[in-house]
């Protein structure tokens, strides 16, 4: 027997190759997780949109006689430190988080994709743009957001700006990589031969073919945006009272950890579930769109 045969026999006998059933089961598990993620994402968006229909109580109404009450029949998740219904605030917080995520990703996409496309298409701009991106990346994520908030001050609008700016480098890199690959294709050359202008080529031909990685990146960045905004609010640098935001609720609730832990536990649980959903869904999306697996 030659070496190849020996190898193959050894492989078969050692049982290292998975039986087809196991392979199928692993794939299905991955899909199920992505599906679960998708369900969570959809529910999150629906909750955020239909806040007024779902909330059991007014999220801003205070009742100081009932501060810090635990979960009860009427107030399912209890009340916070000034008597507001926690469940209603969590539901409203979904809207806050979604708005922050959408707005900041909007900033990140518009600036990041544009910069990335320019860097990928024009050689001369590539060097400068990537240097700028490197400088932005020199600040660890949270510190970049802190720096921006330190300049602009706390508040919802500045959190959106900070988180938006913090997402620009990644979108820029991803777009640039995709553009560099796509621009080698023949249809780009053909378009140029017809006399199409640069703008037409970039926006009409190249970018539409770069969508897959950009979409995946967006799905994976939304949870990062939500967590960063929550972190800033937790520190007191983000969303200010009385706006209901999960991180801010955690920040307010932490003082009462000993006496009323429910104030801090439930908002954090909400953050975790939503982030989990987006991560699972994003992972599944990335695997589905991965050209290598096709």
């Amino acid at each position: 027997m030659d070496l190849t045969e020996t190898t193959n026999n050894a492989k078969a006998r050692s049982g290292r190759r998975k039986p087809p059933l196991a392979v199928f089961w692993t794939r299905l598990k991955m899909h199920k997780l992505a599906l679960l993620g998708g369900v969570i994402v959809i529910m999150f968006v629906l909750v955020a949109l239909f806040v007024n229909a779902i909330m059991p109580h007014d999220p801003f109404k205070q009742d100081l006689r009932q501060r810090l009450r635990g979960p009860s029949h009427e107030y399912i998740l209890g009340r916070d430190d000034i008597g507001r219904c926690i469940l209603s605030r969590i539901i409203y917080g979904a809207r806050t988080s979604l708005s922050i995520a959408v707005s900041s990703i909007g900033i990140g996409l518009s600036v990041g994709v544009l910069l990335g496309a320019l860097a990928g298409y024009y050689q001369r701009l590539d060097g400068i743009i990537m240097r700028l991106i490197d400088i932005m990346l020199a600040f660890p994520s949270m510190f970049l957001a802190l720096a921006i908030v330190s300049a602009l001050g706390p508040g919802l609008r500045n959190v959106i700006i900070a988180v938006g700016i913090y997402s620009i480098p990644t979108f820029c890199r991803v777009t640039r990589g995709a553009v560099l690959m796509v621009k080698e294709n023949e249809y780009v050359e053909a378009a140029r031969a017809i006399g199409a202008g640069d703008a037409t080529i970039i926006f009409g031909h190249i970018l539409p073919n770069c969508l897959a990685p950009i979409i995946v990146q967006t799905t994976l960045y939304i949870p990062a945006a939500i967590i960063t905004a929550a972190g800033l609010s937790f520190l007191g640098l983000g969303v200010q009272s009385p706006i209901a935001e999960w991180g801010a609720m955690l920040g307010e609730g932490r003082v009462y950890l000993r006496v009323a832990p429910h104030v801090a536990i439930f908002p954090g649980l909400a953050i975790m579930i939503v982030v989990l959903g987006f991560n699972l869904f994003g992972d599944g999306l990335r695997d589905a769109l991965d050209p290598r697996l096709k």
Binding site: L33, R131, I135, F143, S150, I227, A230, L257, N279
Partner: protein, 306 residues
């Protein structure tokens, strides 16, 4: 190899300069007159003018930039809040943060690799299952919430560990574990997939055929090759550890630079914010470079053919 290092260091210089400029410019990004911002809400016109002269804000931007940098070193640049030289405020706390970050990194590397290897070698076992769940949840759990939960469990309910401050080894446990969890998750996942790939290679079969113990096969041959992507991941995690440190320090009242920066921002203490940011960013850039170089050194393809 040496030229590679020198080349990377030279490429670094514009970034380092850029970082100092950006950190310094923070004050100017703020809407309004910097002198008025420093002076505060109820300052008179005279106060503002005095501050403007004191801080040298009436001089050209470039001159101010150099004054700032030299002032930081000579001790002339002082915190607005405490009147101490900025570096006196910043450096001790920076060291505290480094301690926390390093301990967390060590924990996450050790636990992460251990869980990853186990999951790869004993697939579908209990450890694999638990490890996968930890890996998925670990990334999604906000650090500050996890910190609060751990305080609730270990300090409030069980009373085993202290919740705040930095007075001894026991004070280090909760903060560093909290910080490490997300990184354990990522490292474990990476190690597992990397190990799975490596185990299928033929040289592993050769090692087994040679009669080596399974332990040696896994740890001496397979792991060594599987660790390469893990080095990259560890480098990436350093940034998240630093960022997470800001939140963890706040939860556990750990006297580090994260907490200092947050308080300085709330107090509009710009010199501290500017120099603090600068220091953190510079450290981050240098550590990234070190990790890159380490990776280049370890990866035979780059070492021999660069």
């Amino acid at each position: 190899m040496r030229e590679y290092i020198i080349r990377r260091l030279i490429q670094l210089i514009p970034v380092l300069i850029g970082v100092t400029i950006v950190s310094f410019s923070i004050l100017y990004l703020a809407p309004g007159d910097p002198a008025a911002i420093i002076a505060g809400a109820d300052a008179t016109g005279e106060d503002i003018q005095r501050i403007r002269v004191d801080f040298g804000l009436d001089k050209p931007f470039v001159l101010q930039y150099f004054n700032y940098l030299s002032g930081a070193f000579t001790g002339e640049l002082r915190s607005i809040r405490t009147k101490q030289p900025v570096l006196t405020e910043i450096l001790p706390r920076f060291v505290n943060t480094i301690k926390l970050t390093v301990v967390s990194m060590v924990i996450s590397i050790v636990m992460g690799i251990f869980i990853g290897v186990f999951s790869a070698v004993r697939q579908n076992s209990l450890v694999d299952y638990v490890g996968t769940v930890i890996a998925i949840l670990g990334i999604c759990t906000p650090v500050f919430w996890l910190g609060l939960l751990l305080i609730l469990l270990f300090s409030v309910i069980l009373g085993w560990l202290p919740a705040a401050g930095m007075n001894g080894l026991s004070h280090m446990i909760l903060p560093s574990v909290t910080l490490a969890v997300a990184s354990i998750a990522v490292i474990a996942r990476m190690t597992k997939s990397s190990m799975l790939e490596v185990i299928r290679q033929e040289y592993v079969m050769v090692a087994r055929a040679k009669g080596l113990t399974e332990f040696k096969v896994i740890f001496k041959h397979a792991l060594r090759n599987a660790l390469l992507p893990t080095v990259t991941v560890v480098g990436l995690r350093f940034g998240y550890l630093l960022g997470g440190a800001v939140l963890v320090e706040s939860v556990f009242a750990w006297p580090g630079i994260g907490r200092l920066l947050v308080n300085a921002i709330l107090a509009r203490d710009f010199p501290v914010v500017q120099i603090g940011l600068m220091l953190v960013a510079l450290t981050f850039v240098l550590v990234n470079l070190a990790v890159d170089l380490l990776y280049s050194y370890l990866n035979p393809r780059i070492r021999y053919w660069s």
